[in-house]
Symmetry: C2
Subunit: 466 residues, 2 copies
């Protein structure tokens, strides 16, 4: 049997697997909980640890980038080839809080391997998936006989993802020249399940707002005045009820303007996935499926824009009763956006719509917190095809497509850097992100290393540099 690139990669990985896992365990021992100020020093230690490891991996340039919050790590390894495309890998080195008493069977910051799984906070989200790129790039060099990657490889590993990425856009904007690239590879997502390797092709966008309604200048007596003056709680509820029509479509005029409809092919690809609605409802802690008529559950969460009530508050909420007409009401709404929608236009549609719904005597304010754009890579995009081929070589299986219903900092990279965002992740739903006993499947983790090892050559061949 001759040495193919694939067999070299596998041999290289097998040889270095034990050291790789020892190193990862060291990193997982650092409780880099970004949401807890008491762990600020640990988050910094985690950044420094990663920086040292990336230097050891061979990255000639490694820097810790400060923000007004937690530090990020930047690393760069230029290709020796001319006209090589440039890629930024995105991930994060901070983790969710975790404590033994939350239901962990073992110390969340003392990694344990059992039955082929590595248990620790951050094993899957996201240290494990960041770390597979270190062994991946070494295997890539070994298999191709290179001393530098086939692409100009940059890593940007942030430290605040689990606490809201507050300073991330700022960071990307400040370093936009250093981060210039042809594509972003996000390694902070997962696959459909253990038996169904998939590539995520996009995330929904998000814009969220607060609507305050003002009625009487103070709470007033519902006996003396009720039924004869407008009640802001009633009007807030009528707004929410008017958000959707009988088919549960969003009823705000202009909301769907520009929405990129699913193609027949995309719907078929979604339908090929082994979706189990009962299991999905369990994961949603929910007792019924309900959404826009004419779409399946997967289509609703991956490819359709939504209007959701995140919070409602008005009047008396204590024990018992208080017969008032409340003075004010407050609504928190979030809108998930899909490709083709413009957040600014959606915001204006919401403002116009609210203004037209309210009766005389109710004053209102609408304030948006922000907007994250949707991202979607077309199925025939050359970089996406490279990711699919790299995953296919690692898994030896047909690679299917998923999307993410959520929204994330990946979209900032897309927007600021003006490039497509691709996803390379091997985590599975059972990994328990943010939950007790988070784990990563070791076999899948090594497939991640393998896919990363194949990706750079494929991209260099197939994705044009600009």
């Amino acid at each position: 049997m001759s040495d193919t690139p694939d067999s070299v990669v596998r041999a290289y990985i097998d040889e270095h697997r034990a050291a790789f896992l020892d190193d990862l365990a060291d990193w997982l021992r650092i409780p880099s909980v970004s949401a807890d100020p008491a762990h600020a020093a640990d988050v910094r230690r985690s950044a420094d640890w990663l920086a040292a490891k990336l230097t050891e991996t061979g990255f000639p340039t490694v820097e810790v980038w400060e923000t007004d919050g937690a530090p990020a790590v930047f690393a760069e390894w230029p290709s020796l080839e001319e006209n090589a495309p440039t890629v930024v890998v995105y991930g994060h080195h901070d983790v969710q809080p975790a404590a033994r008493e939350d239901g962990w069977h073992t110390d969340p910051f003392e990694p344990v391997v059992k039955d082929g799984r590595l248990y620790a906070r951050g094993a899957a989200d996201d240290k494990g998936q960041v770390f597979f790129h270190t062994l991946g790039v070494r295997a890539h060099l070994a298999a191709t006989g290179r001393t530098a990657p086939a692409v100009n490889l940059k890593l940007l590993i942030e430290g605040e993802e689990e606490s809201g990425s507050e300073h991330f856009t700022e960071l990307v904007r400040a370093h936009a020249d250093r981060l210039a690239c042809d594509a972003v590879i996000v390694s902070d997502t997962g696959m459909w399940d253990e038996n169904t390797p998939t590539v995520c092709t996009g995330m929904r966008g998000l814009t969220d707002c607060q609507i305050d309604l003002y009625g009487p200048d103070q709470d007033i007596h519902s006996g003396s005045f009720g039924g004869a003056v407008p009640n802001p709680a009633t009007e807030a509820a009528r707004l929410v009820a008017a958000l959707h029509d009988a088919d549960r479509k969003v009823a705000i005029p202009g909301f769907y303007d520009g929405v990129q409809e699913l193609t027949g092919t995309e719907r078929e690809l979604f339908a090929e996935l082994p979706f189990d609605e009962k299991g999905w409802l369990r994961s949603a802690h929910s007792h019924g499926a309900l959404g826009e008529a004419g779409y399946t559950t997967l289509e609703r969460i991956w490819a359709r824009p939504t209007a959701e009530v995140n919070g409602l508050g008005s009047g008396y909420q204590g024990h018992g009763s208080k017969t008032i007409v409340p003075s004010t009401a407050q609504l928190k709404l979030s809108f998930r956006l899909v490709a083709g929608q413009d957040a600014d236009r959606v915001q204006q549609s919401v403002r116009d719509w609210v203004a037209g719904q309210l009766p005389d005597g109710i004053r209102h304010e609408v304030g948006f917190w922000g907007a994250t754009r949707p991202c979607l890579t077309p199925l025939d995009h050359p970089a996406l095809q490279s990711v699919v081929r790299a995953m296919g070589r690692a898994f030896g299986q047909k690679i299917r497509f998923t999307r993410e219903g959520g929204s994330g900092p990946a979209a900032d990279l897309q927007d600021v850097l003006g490039v497509p965002v691709l996803f390379l992740g091997i985590s599975v739903p059972s990994d328990g992100w943010h939950a007790p006993n988070e784990k990563v499947e070791l076999d899948l983790l090594m497939k991640g290393v393998e896919a990363a090892a194949h990706l750079w050559s494929d991209l260099a061949e197939n994705m044009p540099a600009h």
Copy 2:
């Protein structure tokens, strides 16, 4: 000029006015704030003071009735005539909290007379209006040459009205035999204004509930699951929006069953009142009038049943945003009821309606806090005619009719004792109940004494005893 009963009453009142006001001032000095446990001894002192004064007035039986809360005062003065009807006068001796720093120009518990007004907490609500019955019954005896009233006169003056009358129904039930009567006269209301003497003919009833909706077992991610599972905040809002139709009529099937519609005469009588909508909106601290189509503001608040949202709560209500589908939602609703409506049937209608509105996946609970029945005395009721004539003799003006939009313990007396409830009050909106600088107009207060003095003979002549 010969001595008519009216002139004797006036002369008697003039003669005793100074002593009457001195006594009232003494009572007003007792800060009988029932809502504040620190004033429990003052509330008891107020009851004892009143009991002593009623004995001095001539009531042969005076008792302080204990409750699990504050004490009430009961007094009884039987008529010497056979077949005399029996009347219970209702009022209360406790007052709202008051402190100089709330905006009082003088000490709220040190009565001050200025420009024909007596300023003190309780001057109008309700000590002044209870107290006019003491001089009233004496003037009645003087004018008719009696040594006992023309009716069997009973007084029930409770001590918890300003803190929710928690033990009042219990008290009335426990003493139902002692309180047996042919009619109740409530002296705890007011008139239209200084220039428009009126008699209130009824109050609305009330039943209020809490509706809890349960969706996902915990708050869930609106990106991962939103748009594909039912959201209890959305469903709560849709319930509220469905409470009223486009004409702002209550849309719950069966809600209007039995409602006693306004007659043409009643509507004309309402329309005769000098209603100033702008002034009324100011008193409602509101910026628009809105209610059931086809009815005026006065009709809406006095004679139409309503469904009002008193409170709404779901999901995230803090600063900023949190992109969740909330697990639960809570609604507080109150329904004002009018004559002819049955609170039990309304409650069942609400339960049935809620159950039919919710999608699969939303569990719900409906709990009612209680029910107060509406009361309404027909315009041609002989006892109401007596009240109108007594007021007419006191004021020398046409007496018009009002109603109360609120609900009160008067309805308990109606229900437990099974008799009509009538209202005799001389307070005016500018008296500032529950507000700083509460006052009573001394001229109106003395008209109250006069009306009370005339009422007992008229009732004895015109209202049959049972």
